[in-house]
């Protein structure tokens, strides 16, 4: 039940973030969505994720606030605005209905199949020595994924440093 409330809160915050006129408020609202997500993770019994989501959210917020230097928000509504919005909404509606029927085939909420996961839970501690099963998975069973993940962060750092250079070309244009 509390999950439903939390999700509704997140949706409300997301709508605020999308529709509010002021950019700074929009960024703050998205922060609220992120914190709601962190709480949701806690309710869903994922403390690792809750911690990570919380700190990542703070960092994201700082970076995004850094980006909102100027608060100009264009509000031009040309003739096709209504048409475009309506078509997007119809598309979203069709997507949701389709998803509703497709997702019915999934196992019920709260009862995952856990075919492979049982194996991790039963033997994870004995095989890796870590009591935190999530840590055992990300760093041992699926360590290769984590190498990729670390590489992604490395790539992003390199990318930011490359994009932020003052002079791109040596002879100009």
């Amino acid at each position: 039940m509390e999950l439903h409330l939390l999700l509704l809160f997140m949706i409300a915050a997301a709508i605020v973030a999308v529709e509010v006129k002021d950019l700074l408020s929009s960024v703050i609202a998205v922060g609220a969505v992120g914190l709601g997500l962190s709480l949701a993770f806690l309710i869903l019994k994922a403390p690792d994720l809750a911690i990570t989501q919380l700190v990542v959210e703070i960092l994201c917020l700082i970076i995004l606030i850094r980006a909102t230097i100027k608060k100009d928000l264009p509000l031009i509504r040309d003739g096709r605005w209504l048409f475009n919005t309506a078509s997007t909404l119809i598309f979203v509606g069709v997507f949701l209905i389709f998803a509703y029927f497709a997702l019915k085939e999934l196992p019920n909420f709260g009862a995952p199949i856990m075919r492979v996961a049982e194996e991790y839970i039963k033997n994870g501690q004995a095989k890796t020595g870590a009591t935190n099963i999530v840590a055992a998975i990300i760093l041992d069973f699926r360590g290769y994924d984590t190498l990729g993940e670390a590489t992604i962060l490395f790539t992003a750092v390199m990318g930011v440093l490359a994009v932020i250079r003052k002079v791109g070309r040596i002879n100009g244009k």
Partner: protein, 493 residues
Amino acid sequence: MPFFVIIPLGAAFLVSLLGKKIKSVGDVLANLGTLSLLILSLYSIKLVNMYKVLVYEVGSWVPPIGICLVLDGLTSFMLVTVNLVSFLIALYSVNYMEKYTDKYRFYTLFMLMLAGMNGIIITGDLFNLFVFLEIASISSYALVAFGTEAEELEASFKYAIMGSVASSFVLLGIAILYAYTSTLNMADIANVLSSKPSPLLFSFLAVLFLSGFGLKAALVPFHAWLPDAHPSAPASISAMLSGVLIKVLGVYALVRIFFNVLGINNFFLSMLMFLGVISMLVGVFLAIGQWDFKRLLAYHSISQIGYVVLGIGLGTPLGILGGLFHLFNHSIFKSLLFLNSGAVEYSLGTRDLQKMGGLREKMPITANTDLVASMSIAGVPPFNGFFSKLIIIFACIEAGRFGYAICAIVGSILTLASFMKVQKYAFFGKLSQKWQQVKEVPVLMCLAMVVLALICLAGGLLITPFFKSFLGSAVDVLLLGTGYSGTIFGALK
């Protein structure tokens, strides 16, 4: 086998660590790394011939508990394509990238992109595929913006947004697949799915994966980012993006998931064919009106990807053979064309076809290799593009799809027309006064272009019986369909 990922990653980290102090370390490490990868991938052909399928368990965990790496016919085919092209492009970049600052960052990102692509190709795990997909895409976003000019940043932003949305679709698809099967190993998923089919869920998944990977492959309804992003990047990166990235990220991943994991059916196939034909025609029509050399090439990429997808979508052995063969050929000649455009830009400083003319006298090597590539992409015998297009058209006729065959022929003719335009304006005709002092590009750039042109000529030989096993084993993997899981688990025992 994990060396396909370790080598580029290690090279990337080392280059970023040492590159600032020692200038040449980037050139040396990048070229050595790509060369060794090329040799390894050529060796992998032999391995595949001997063992058919090789499975490597990372961390000695048996799948589905751990991640496994799979080396089969399709994998080694893609590895050879990617590493061949990237080695030549690394060679080319040594001189070309002198125009930009911070060359070692370029090499770092380049090697990371290569690592991402090799990782996608070789993995046998669905989530691992996603992770490496993100490595390759994030480095390509950064590389598109490498020049940090206004247009490049804008193109990169567009590309990054589209690409991230596509990744989210893919991740959502993976989440649903996980919920349904409770495993992430591709072979295992195929096993579970074939035991409890559910048509509605499958089509939902197909929509998610098709929009995700279709965005990455720039199939037509999702192509808006490509004509901006590809021309904006440095020429060697355009060659990389157009030549291999869209194929690995888009076509390979799509085909691997549709054929080997979800299991193909007629609905998927007709969807693929339809998208292929639409991309083919729209791409070529948009290309004809372009005057920017690289933009024209970018639209042709869309059109040629259409051919590849059409061929594979036919689902017949001949069609798949043609599609894969065209994939190989396209990555060769399209990278050659982009390298040519880079060479022209390097010497002239412009990409506008109307300002060029008569470059044949001043830049003979560029002009001749460009002629080879243009003939090849237009499908003129005896170049490789001709054979692959011919196979695709034959396959269409064989499958009774005469309409698609006619579309393919029309597309081919229009391609020829637009490349005649390039040749006429850029390389033939009068040399204008402005370009009297233009010189041929440095020797390493020439070397890379000449080698690619030679492969264009020799590419036709790939369908001769001697090389047939190379393509044939790749085709076999796709024809196997969901029997893929059987071979993987067979190889484990």
